[in-house]
Symmetry: C2
Subunit: 175 residues, 2 copies
């Protein structure tokens, strides 16, 4: 359901090809909602069938350009205003922490250091995006920046946690 609204949201902004949307899902949007071409193309077809988007052009290699219809824009707006965000997020790294105690201390410490390294890399990626973007001018760019800032804030919190957790495990008494 969220993929449908993400596509609709992008196409409410302006025209995109399926390929163009795919690239956005490989970049920024993918941090929030990963999607592959095998899911995107059929979903675009469904959205067109239901009249929420329409094809507004054709490009070089059989590419198709879509845009949201009035009904489609209405639908995104309703999604944002009238539906509760899905709070039931699946978080595999968090799940693993519940079972860290099944590893011996060395392996648990190594796991936490790996996690910290990954998160440090992720933060660097997000920082690079901020550095590369011009200061946000449009409302759309301001929203994008807010999303980016949320990613940076939670990633920083996770890095600090990983360091503290490693030190904590090092202090665990031997069994």
């Amino acid at each position: 359901m969220s993929l449908r609204h993400a596509l609709l949201g992008m196409l409410a902004e302006g025209p995109y090809t399926g390929w163009g949307l795919l690239k956005h899902f490989e970049g920024s949007l993918g941090y929030a909602w990963p999607a592959l071409h095998s899911q995107i193309y059929p979903e675009l077809a469904r959205l067109r069938e239901t009249g929420l988007i329409e094809q507004v052009g054709e490009g070089p290699r059989g590419s198709k350009t879509y845009e949201a219809t009035a009904a489609g824009r209405e639908q995104v707006w309703r999604w944002l205003r009238e539906t509760e965000p899905d709070r039931g997020t699946r978080n595999d790294p968090l799940l693993r922490i519940f079972f860290l105690w099944l590893l011996d201390d060395e392996d648990a410490v190594a796991w936490l250091e790996r996690e910290e390294a990954y998160l440090t890399g992720l933060l660097a990626e997000l920082d690079a995006i901020v550095a590369a973007e011009p200061p946000p001018a449009s409302r759309r760019e301001r929203s994008f920046r807010l999303a980016l800032e949320l990613g940076r804030a939670t990633t920083r919190a996770r890095i600090e946690w990983a360091r503290a957790a490693r030190d904590d495990v090092r202090g665990w008494p031997a069994v």
Copy 2:
């Protein structure tokens, strides 16, 4: 795949009934990996068929008690040591932020305040769990506490973000 390992991880710790596991997924584990009985029972049946868990007893209302076999414990251990955590987390609230600009400023501010209220409630829940639990003594309890601390740390970061984001939107120039 993660549900399978979560069940295996719980049953590596000691015996549980399907119902008992379900209660854990409704509580703490559910913050990391939500699962309903309609998914848990069939998965337990599959784990038993593949010899990763075994039934070790029967209770009052046709309840069945399971425990991980040696092969099952080996499997969780491998999952933790040898597989990369799935980083492709879906995050509906984050996705919506990319499209906040489609709302007018008042609605965007209201959305952010709702989000802050939800997160404040969540933090209170997590704080209550910490307050209710005795200081962690076993390795298992220490792991559990680490998971809880990660939840608290990211929730605090998101609350601060929501406040800053609200103030930011209030400063957006009129269109």
